[in-house]
């Protein structure tokens, strides 16, 4: 790299492929993931807006009082909040090098809690379908099935990501790449928790008022 020419060291925006670009710093990588998460937040916000504006139109089909139940939603919330906590411990085990066993164990526990959440949600969806609450019945249900399963898909992908990270940790240990990947997975997981807080508050609890 020729010293002195500032344009040579230019870092994005714009085309500047040099070896300096090949290794973005950890901070840049994590900040980039923050940008992605905020875009995801906009997606969810718009699905919430659609739900809020269409939620009253049940078109003669079942309404929120018939299809929502408080107890399963509370159980799902408990599982997801606990999984955020266990992932936090996993992050700390990584940061303070408390051994691979604690890290892998906490990741496995997070995965189990996440899978439990997904199982409960599937049970909910099946129960709703049994009551005739399908997406095509009304605008309320279309908006519901656009919003909540999108979160469901995110959590499913998060679970896949946890499995991938557990395998990668086993194969290559804690190097710089797996560390920043775990950091990003942590951001993703905690972010999904926040989205769920909004869902249970403004979909389930509001529907049951």
């Amino acid at each position: 790299m020729s010293a002195g020419s500032a344009s040579e060291r230019r870092r994005h925006p714009g085309l500047n492929l040099h070896e300096s670009d090949a290794h973005p710093s950890d901070g840049e990588v994590v900040f980039g993931f923050w940008v992605f998460m905020m875009i995801d937040a906009v997606l969810f916000a718009l699905l919430f807006a659609v739900y809020a504006s269409l939620g009253a139109n049940t078109a003669g089909g079942p309404g929120p009082h018939e299809v929502f139940e408080l107890r399963p939603a509370a159980m799902e919330t408990l599982l997801l909040l606990l999984s955020s906590f266990t992932f936090g411990i996993a992050s700390l085990a990584m940061k303070y090098q408390r051994g691979m066993a604690l890290l892998q164990g906490m990741l496995a526990l997070t995965l189990l809690l996440g899978l439990g959440f997904l199982g409960l949600e599937v049970h909910d969806f099946v129960g709703m379908a049994d009551k005739g609450a399908l997406p095509q019945v009304s605008a309320f249900l279309s908006a519901f099935y656009a919003l909540v399963p999108t979160h469901f898909l995110h959590v499913s992908l998060g679970c896949v990501w946890i499995v991938v990270m557990m395998v990668q940790l086993r194969m290559s240990g804690l190097d710089r790449i797996t560390r920043t990947r775990l950091l990003r997975l942590g951001l993703f997981w905690h972010f999904l928790d926040i989205v769920w807080v909004m869902i249970f508050s403004f979909v389930f609890l509001r529907g049951l008022l």
Binding site: S84, G88, I194
Partner: protein, 103 residues
């Protein structure tokens, strides 16, 4: 950097976050189950609890605070909040208005 003390201090952050999150969502669920007030008041309380929990999650789990080193993240979040506010409020305004006209 980062001995036993650091681990304990950060662990305490997560424990505080978990207690806050469980307390706030537990309160919201309990209120709805108990149903002491009119629906409009309840909606306000549930929304307030949700916002408090949002802040608690950002603070304790995502470690966003007002320190200089986190300013970029904070500004990104605040900018996104503005965008979300504009888009959600605008969408609701237009769609609800259209809905009313069609009734």
């Amino acid at each position: 950097m980062g001995g036993d003390g650091g681990f304990r201090r950060e662990l305490r952050d997560y424990v505080v976050g978990l207690v806050l999150a469980l307390g706030l969502s537990g309160a919201a669920f309990a209120l709805v189950a108990w149903d002491p007030w009119a629906a409009r008041t309840m909606l306000g309380v549930v929304a307030a609890l949700a916002v408090l929990q949002l802040v608690a999650h950002f603070r304790c789990f995502l470690h966003i605070d007002l320190k200089q080193s986190h300013r970029d993240d904070l500004q990104l979040i605040l900018f996104t909040a503005v965008i979300i506010g504009l888009m959600v409020a605008g969408s609701l305004w237009i769609i609800l208005n259209q809905n009313q006209r069609m009734m």
